[in-house]
């Protein structure tokens, strides 16, 4: 087993286990910490896929900023272990789990069915060359930047505007008294 393969299996295990614990932990703090672990695993997976810049961003944005946000909010609410962490209802619960299961089964089935197509795709000459180039060339960051700032500059700028709006909106939301939708 090559190091590549070992790395993949190890990281897969880490992400799946921590992902599972996000769902299963009844204490939200543990869920948050597990999610942080998952993020780190994903970031490492990015590295195995030669996406170094993204791996960094993943760490900074997710494991850094977003998770801190989550944890802070949790701390703010002072949430402890929950008795009713999961929804009730036999039928709906069954349907929920079944739909998740069937969905994942279907996707996996689709992936395996599409195996041949995928391999032929990778083996088609130009794609293969490009893939090799991408595999071997560690400098994907430059390529990413070029693509981002030339081809997708409009989307990039739009995202900037979106983030501005979000920032303003978030501030406005958290300053509000929770709306007028009184329950009583």
């Amino acid at each position: 087993m090559s190091s590549d393969a070992f790395l993949f299996w190890f990281l897969a295990l880490v992400t799946v286990v921590s992902g599972l614990s996000v769902v299963l932990m009844t204490n939200p703090i543990y869920s948050a910490l597990s999610l942080a672990m998952t993020m780190i695993g994903v970031s490492a997976l990015f590295v195995t896929l030669n996406a170094y810049f993204l791996a960094g961003v993943q760490l900074i944005v997710y494991a850094g900023a977003v998770m801190v946000l989550f944890v802070m909010v949790l701390m703010l609410f002072d949430l402890k272990h929950e008795l009713q962490a999961f929804t009730r209802g036999r039928i709906t619960g069954a349907i929920k789990i079944a739909s998740v299961g069937i969905l994942s089964g279907l996707i996996v089935g689709a992936v395996t069915m599409g195996l041949k197509t995928a391999t032929t795709l990778t083996e088609s000459a130009s794609a293969a060359n490009a893939a090799v180039a991408l595999k071997t060339n560690p400098d994907t960051t430059r390529a990413l930047a070029e693509n981002l700032f030339i081809k997708n500059i409009f989307g990039f700028e739009a995202l900037g505007v979106l983030l501005l709006v979000i920032a303003v909106g978030t501030v406005a939301l958290s300053r509000s008294k929770g709306g007028s939708h009184a329950r009583d």
Partner: protein, 108 residues
């Protein structure tokens, strides 16, 4: 084409399957959990799962666009988390409650 070893030859499919598994976990969490914050976390999980498949496609197809898309997704995810949490905070301030079953105002 020689027989590929499922364990040692890591290809696109491995990443995709991993992505699916993570996505399903996230989805199960969204469907099953009751805590609003945890729900948001599970959504993050789903988005990350998708990101994995994007990057994997990007690598195995030799196109950088996949990574660009991940970049966008991350931005959106961060924004969504911010707004979602802001909402959660504001709701919590008003109702002292984060259980999703509590918020059924959309009942028809």
């Amino acid at each position: 084409m020689p027989e590929t070893n499922l364990i040692t030859d890591i290809g696109l499919n491995h990443y995709l399957v991993l992505s699916v598994v993570l996505f399903s976990l996230g989805m199960a969490g969204v469907l099953l959990r009751r805590n609003l914050i945890v729900l948001l976390m599970c959504i993050e999980l789903m988005l990350n799962a998708v990101n994995i498949s994007f990057v994997a496609f990007s690598k195995f197809n030799g196109k950088i666009d996949g990574q660009v898309m991940v970049f966008f997704v991350m931005t959106i995810a961060a924004a969504e988390a911010a707004v979602g949490l802001a909402l959660a905070v504001s709701i919590f301030k008003r109702f002292k409650e984060v259980n999703i079953r509590f918020f059924e105002h959309l009942k028809g």
